[in-house]
């Protein structure tokens, strides 16, 4: 049933008995045109664009658990396209444009909310670096404004302007940035893909690849063998493990990133604020919880949990920035596993093995990329060549030295 105020009203009168499953919980068939491994945001978006834009409907999305159980359900829901480097900015802006039309496209309200993001700066050097970035955004046709201290104060007066260890001197603002309801993004894509015949198969873990020489022609799963000429991995957080099943070693380390939500309180924080002198960023959800995060834990891990030092570090950053949150309580914290790449930027590319496609290395920026990633990955799979905005996100850029290192941290994944 199409979601609208009318169908909602009709259901309200009939006890909501007419609603049907948002997506079909499919049983896997033996063969497809495309198999997508990973039922997270990226995998489901890829399926949607394959089916609805590129005309490939014989598609299966294989999810080892429930859809959205990985990083799609473990992030801080921020969307933005405030990137510096040409290889990244255009891609994230494509994603942002898709976000802006997402709900109408999917007929699912994912609560895309463009309440803005302000990145604070605390020194002249940081101001110039943000100016460089903001100017780059403007050259890409993306909105950006450089605020001085007074402008920041007018926007977020509750920051510690008078007693801070690292005084706020201004900020880089992208007004079109904001947040989206992360789970709804997963469900919306699943619904749209499923409507076009995509099989979404839950509780189906890939345990191996079926090979024909070098080529990958299918997967072994906990629900049997499934074949397809094109197999696409979208399992960020587990990319190195799944790739290892095909004998590939990726330029990726796996790290834990924690995220936090407070108890719900009445609106305090309008948009997204990031601290420039510590690891802390925050927004407030529509339900009222402060959603915040900070640095990765720093060690390699596949466990979806973090540890106390980073919990404290993030809280310290929060209190340094906005001491009004001292008596607001942390409600839940959780950990997600990040594919941290060697330059902090993602990979959307063919793998060295014919038939196997790679979507990986999202570091901790995967959520905002979901629409763009799905679109570009679908383009690559359907047309056999990269979408122009994702042309720099190649696997061989590490070997060739065409890196996309936004932070200039080098090949040390835990610093990106």
């Amino acid at each position: 049933m199409r979601r609208s105020i009318f169908s909602l009203a009709l259901n309200a009168l009939t006890g909501h008995r007419l609603w049907r499953p948002t997506w079909r919980d499919a049983v896997p068939k033996p063969e497809y045109d495309v198999i997508i491994i990973g039922g997270g945001g990226h995998g489901l978006a890829t399926a949607h664009y394959l089916a609805n834009v590129f005309g490939i409907q014989r598609v299966a999305v294989l999810e080892k658990s429930w859809i959205g159980s990985g990083n799609a359900g473990r992030n801080t829901t921020i969307i933005r396209s405030n990137y510096l480097l040409p290889g990244n900015n255009a891609f994230y802006e494509l994603s942002m444009k898709l976000w802006e039309g997402l709900e109408q496209e999917l007929n699912y309200n994912a609560m895309v909310s463009q309440r803005g993001i302000v990145n604070l700066y605390h020194s002249d050097a940081q101001r110039d670096a943000y100016a460089r970035r903001g100017n780059s955004m403007r050259l890409h046709g993306v909105d950006a404004e450089l605020l001085d201290r007074d402008q920041v104060r007018a926007m977020v007066p509750f920051l510690d302007f008078d007693n801070a260890r690292f005084p706020v001197k201004g900020g880089l603002l992208q007004r079109r940035a904001g947040t989206a309801r992360h789970d709804a993004v997963v469900w919306g894509y699943a619904a749209a893909a499923s409507r076009r015949g995509v099989d979404i198969v839950q509780n189906c873990e890939v345990t191996g690849f079926i090979r024909n020489g070098d080529a990958v022609v299918g997967v072994e799963t906990t629900r049997g063998s499934i074949r397809a000429p094109k197999i696409a991995m979208a399992v960020a957080g587990n990319s190195s493990r799944v790739a290892a099943l095909a004998g590939l070693r990726l330029p990726i380390e796996s790290h834990v990133l924690q995220a936090f939500v407070s108890e719900a309180v009445k609106p305090l924080i309008p948009g997204v604020v990031t601290f420039g002198a510590g690891h802390f960023y925050v927004s407030q959800s529509d339900k009222g919880g402060l959603v915040f995060g900070g640095d990765i834990d720093g060690y390699n891990s596949y466990a979806q949990r973090g540890n106390l030092p980073v919990v404290e570090d993030v809280a310290e950053g929060g209190m340094a920035l906005m001491p009004m949150i001292g008596r607001i309580r942390l409600l839940r914290s959780w950990g997600g596993i990040m594919d941290m790449s060697m330059d902090g930027s993602p990979i959307i590319d063919r793998s060295p093995l014919p038939g196997l496609y790679l979507n990986a290395g999202w570091c901790y920026g995967g959520f905002k990329a979901i629409p763009g990633s799905g679109f570009c990955f679908a383009h690559l799979i359907a047309k056999g060549e990269p979408h122009p905005t994702a042309a720099a996100l190649r696997l061989d850029r590490f070997e060739r030295g065409y890196l996309l290192d936004e932070k200039g941290q080098g090949a040390q994944p835990n610093l990106h």
């Binding site: 609560m111 529509d286 540890n307």
Partner: protein, 980 residues
Amino acid sequence: MSGYRLPGGGAIDRTRPLGFSFDGRPFQGYAGDTLASALLAEGVGLVARSFKYHRPRGVVTAGSEEPNALVELRTGARREPNTKATTVEIYDGLKAASQNRWPSLGFDVGAVNSLLSPVFVAGFYYKTFMWPAAFWEKVYEPAIRKAAGLGRGAGLPDPDLYEKANAFCDVLVIGGGPAGLAAALAAGRSGARTILADEDFLFGGRLNAERLEIAEKAGADWAAEAVAELASLPHVTLMPRTTVFGVYDGETYAALERVADHLAVPPPHQPRQRLWRIQARQSVLAAGAIERPLVFGGNDRPGVMSAAAVRAYLNRFAVAPGRRAAVFTTGDDGWKTVADLIEAGVEIAAVIDARTGIAHDHEALAAAHDIRLFAGAVVTGTRGGRALHAVQIRDAGGGTRTIACDLLAVAGGWNPNVALSTHLGGKPEWRADIAGFVPGPALPPGMAVAGACAGRMNLGDCLADGFRLGAAATGTTPPEAPETGPDATTATPLWRIAGTRGKCFVDFQHDVTDRDVALAAREGFRSVEHLKRYTTLGMATDQGKTANLNGHALMAALTGRGIAETGTTRFRPPYVPVAIGALAGPHRGPDFKPTRLTAAHGFSAEMGAVFTEAGQWLRPQYYPRPGESDWLESVTREVKAVRGDVGICDVSTLGRIEIQGPDARHLLDLAYCNMFSTLAVGRARYGVMLREDGFVMDDGTTARLGPEHFVMSTTTANAARVMQHLDFLRQVLRPEWDVQCASATEHWAMFAVAGPRSRALLQDLLGDAFDVAGLPHMGAAEFRWGRARVRLFRLSFSGERAYEIAVPARFGQALMRRICDLGATPYGTEALGVMRIEKGHVSGPELNGQTTAADLGLGRMMSKKKDFIGRVLAGRPGLCDPARPALVGLKPVDRGRRLRGGGHFLRPGAAPVIANAEGHVTSAAYSPGLGHWIALGLLAHGPSRHGETMLVHDPLRDGDTLVEICDPVFLDPEGSRLHA
């Protein structure tokens, strides 16, 4: 509901009455009361409104699982939203207010949402608010945001202090009920370092809430004696008011001690709360169990209360929560409430027991007190507005009756409190015999689970468990458990009462009903995690402590699966919400990070310096003098003083690393891209260090003070990173080398003395101690000068003849003062920056981690005669691409224009699109010598484009500026001033 205080009994101190207010109305309670017990004693039944439908709500529980009774506690900057009235210890003058209601708790306009509830079902927002698209941010979302949220944050900086502390123990016992007390006794008597933590301010757990017997004593008395014994044991630490809220890797437990929450304000210099990091070799989880509600129509009406909570209020707080009670039970627990109500003299209107076969002694009890007993009956609805007036029941024959009452005690069985057992990923296991999940076998390392938390509900079992596990943790023989009185807990699960009237709430706080669960199932959200995310079941401030299992059981029934197969959601730390201020501790405001001051900081401050942050350092930025109108005027004066006379700059913040050993020279050859092993003793050399990936990491000078002794300078920003890097090289890559490194940054105070008069000044200063003129350019010397060891280097960042003089930090301030007395002008980081830009020296904005040595005009420094870190990867095509932007100088075509860092280069006339961008401006400064602004930048093919005109595109600030591209060395390219 019309609760009242019982004339006697309870663990309250009737000699200490305490005044408090709720929504502005004054009330009185006693020491030992919680806010909830005191309100109930004063007859206040309506305490809150629910999240979505604004339903009137009362107190349901007597503990931290409370879903309903959330209040705003305290006022002003200390306001704490969403505070559970059931855990607040009252104090004189306490002020609390209801929340999420307008205009008042009694009359809440938001309750109209209840009428719209057919529309406001789970997930309704995903289905609408999409048209027109622009309306989301402007219309729908602001309305939703305003309606959502519960209490109001203070909006003001938290005025209280917080502390962090560490504790180490052999055995950590979590929970001070019967099992926990027993475990602590067993462990403590063995002499093991034992910590017993309980979230309550009174140890004893259910022993205080029930009328139980241990060793022929009242349970509460036994608990008090156990606590007294524990207090007397030397290695036992009792931590009341302390909630263990998280389990982390490495046997680390996080706990929050509420040091002063039971006071109006913390005593002077005392923290409000203290965060404990507890390292425990072993732990005993004795967190007990939580009684679950039953799902029937109107089960949220104020007056419907957990039967176990009713007992707690009667026995511990001497409060009757109502005057005429009904008890609805699915097991023997409700009968304890019946007995306690009788004992307290509260009229019992009826007992509704869902079971058909009722034990004889229960029947006898009912008969003896003339209580109407309905066996095989269920409650199907409740009557009343903001308070319960009656319940509707369906008896065993299917008949409907209405029973007037103002209190309904509900006993639905117990859920073991497994949360902490799951923080490291353990999955709870379903136990059909107790109809609950217990901790599974994959427990956190070192943890054992005791008592009700492990599904052993009987008091005797709890004590035996505690003694056994406390002893096992210390390798001793368990003490014999004392005799206990009768205590039976059985429950027949009843997940949902069919055919009931009105809304049946599963999650009270979030207003999730049985229909929402059914809708989720219908729409395919059948995994418990999808159910949680779609309906928000279990996402409220109580993390579903009372709600989850009922919701999951409903889903199991709807999908035809068993509860074990359906599973349960994972609990996340913290176990109960924890103030963000407590997690941050003292690290806020100026104490967020350490402030590093140089040895001569005080002198610079005396000289009126304006300081700037450089990482954790404070550095003099410039030294304004009276009459100077702005920073630029001061900086210009400082630059002129250096270029025309002599200046002094405190450069103590640069990283300094002592490198010693026979392989020291090899280490330097490996770390730097240029050669160092050929450096003569007594000489210094500029070096560039690459990262493994071939990009520039840092630069600086390293001097050789002896055959096996070097001292390296790094940039201020990279001091720690370079130290880390050198340690990695020598410890991991070349462990066979005999070389040691030590950071000496803080051991030395170092000053740049620069300008044509620098040599003369230093000679004046040093007198006979050293012949300054004999030190060649790039020379280095170490000598004694009076009591001080001095290192003198002839190096120049400014382009002038210059020296860097270093003395042990304790002499730093005196040295700087002396040099200024001899006529040197102090200059700060701004003047330093101006002069290095005039000389085309690279610094932070160019060493941004994205540049190669060649980009910076330093490509020729990369030695071809030796290997070094970064050599191979620096050869990748992308790093050798001739189109890479490289270092150039810039002058504004209109010499009056200001330049700034951060603009991008475009050819004049080119469209402002990224494809036309050819690099960016890195650093800019006003050059007093040239009389106009100058800048450095990175421009594609830059070195071959000197003389070209480019546009600097800076739409964020100044718009477009035409610049002339030039050599990055603006001043004295021949370097003749170095020798002046």
